[in-house]
């Protein structure tokens, strides 16, 4: 099974990198860009695990390791099923 986890700063946390990317896009003339938030993507392969167990394990590792819950949030999806 392959899952994709997306980690990004919480909406309440300022994202200066996203702001800088937005400003660069404006400089290039893309005036329709209203806001940019930057994050990280993890693609993880799981082995010998049921979908039900993945539902438990993926949020657990995201909360414990991949994201810092004080400043970041995460979402995830299954890319490939076994």
């Amino acid at each position: 099974m392959k899952v994709r986890i997306l980690v990004s700063l919480k909406d309440s946390v300022l994202d200066p990198q996203g702001q800088t990317v937005k400003n660069a896009l404006h400089t290039l003339g893309y005036d329709s860009i209203k806001d940019v938030r930057q994050g990280k993507v993890f693609e993880i392969e799981l082995e010998g695990i049921s979908e039900e167990d993945a539902e438990r394990v993926v949020p657990e590792i995201s909360d414990k390791v991949l994201a810092n819950p004080i400043i970041e949030k995460f979402s995830w999806q299954i890319l490939e099923k076994d």
Binding site: L9, S12, V13, L14, P16, Q17, T20, V65, L66, N68, I70, I71
Partner: protein, 229 residues
């Protein structure tokens, strides 16, 4: 007093810190390897500056899972003195021994410069030789030093007098300009509620001799030595 300086892959202030403790301050100091499970009877653990694990994932995050960190956590919970400098501060936040998290500096630049710090709390083991309001000149060198915590946490930090050092100007005045990395409440040094674990972004070991441009950093180590008695 016996200090233990922890080495992670990517630590780069480990030797500077050992030098400041041994050669400048004439204390016993040893290195502790992060893969061991033995604190070798040290009185104080120092997590030095650097880029443990190349700052992969988040600064300090992988180091927080090192084998030795279990012993350090127990040592801290039993009241042992732990000082995290720069990357060491980031590790202590990831370990949740200190509240909050670090964001990238407000100007998105790596800042390597002398800063002024105002001593806010002189009653800690790390500042007992300083006076309240005293201004120290100590350098910083970091990318992720913009302290952040949610509103309820910062309220608790203030209520418990946990802010030890704040970025200020040379007169001890706080301002947006003096707060070089954009830290919440200008926090440069923070202590836990129990008062035995401190994290600070500035590098006291780099300001331990006049030859280095300042010896104001000595006050941190000398306070700890005095505390231990």
């Amino acid at each position: 007093m016996k200090f233990g300086v922890v080495i992670f892959p990517g630590s780069n202030c480990d030797y500077d810190t050992l030098y400041a403790l041994k050669d400048v301050l004439q204390q016993k100091a040893i290195f502790l390897w992060h893969k061991e499970h033995n604190l070798k009877n040290v009185d104080c653990v120092i997590l030095p500056g650097g880029f443990s694990y190349g700052d992969y994932l988040r600064s300090g995050s992988i180091a927080a899972f090192s084998p030795l960190m279990q012993e350090i956590k127990e040592f801290a919970l039993k009241g042992g003195l732990v000082l995290g400098i720069c990357n060491g501060f980031q590790v202590l936040l990831e370990l949740e021994l200190l509240p909050g998290a670090m964001l990238r500096n407000k100007n998105l630049k790596f800042l390597c410069q002398f800063v002024h710090l105002r001593v806010e709390n002189e009653t800690t083991p790390f500042t007992s030789r300083a006076k309240k309001g005293q201004v120290l000149r100590i350098p910083i060198a970091h990318y992720d030093g913009n302290f952040f915590s949610p509103p309820d946490t910062i309220q608790e930090i203030k209520t418990n007098n946990q802010i030890v050092l704040r970025y200020s100007d040379d007169q001890g005045q706080l301002s947006e300009d003096a707060n070089v990395n954009g830290s919440l409440e200008s926090i440069a040094g923070l202590i836990n509620k129990a008062g035995n674990v401190m994290g600070m972004m500035p590098h006291p070991e780099r300001a331990s001799e006049t030859l280095l441009g300042s010896e104001d950093g000595r006050i941190i180590f000398e306070s700890m030595i005095k505390w231990k008695g």
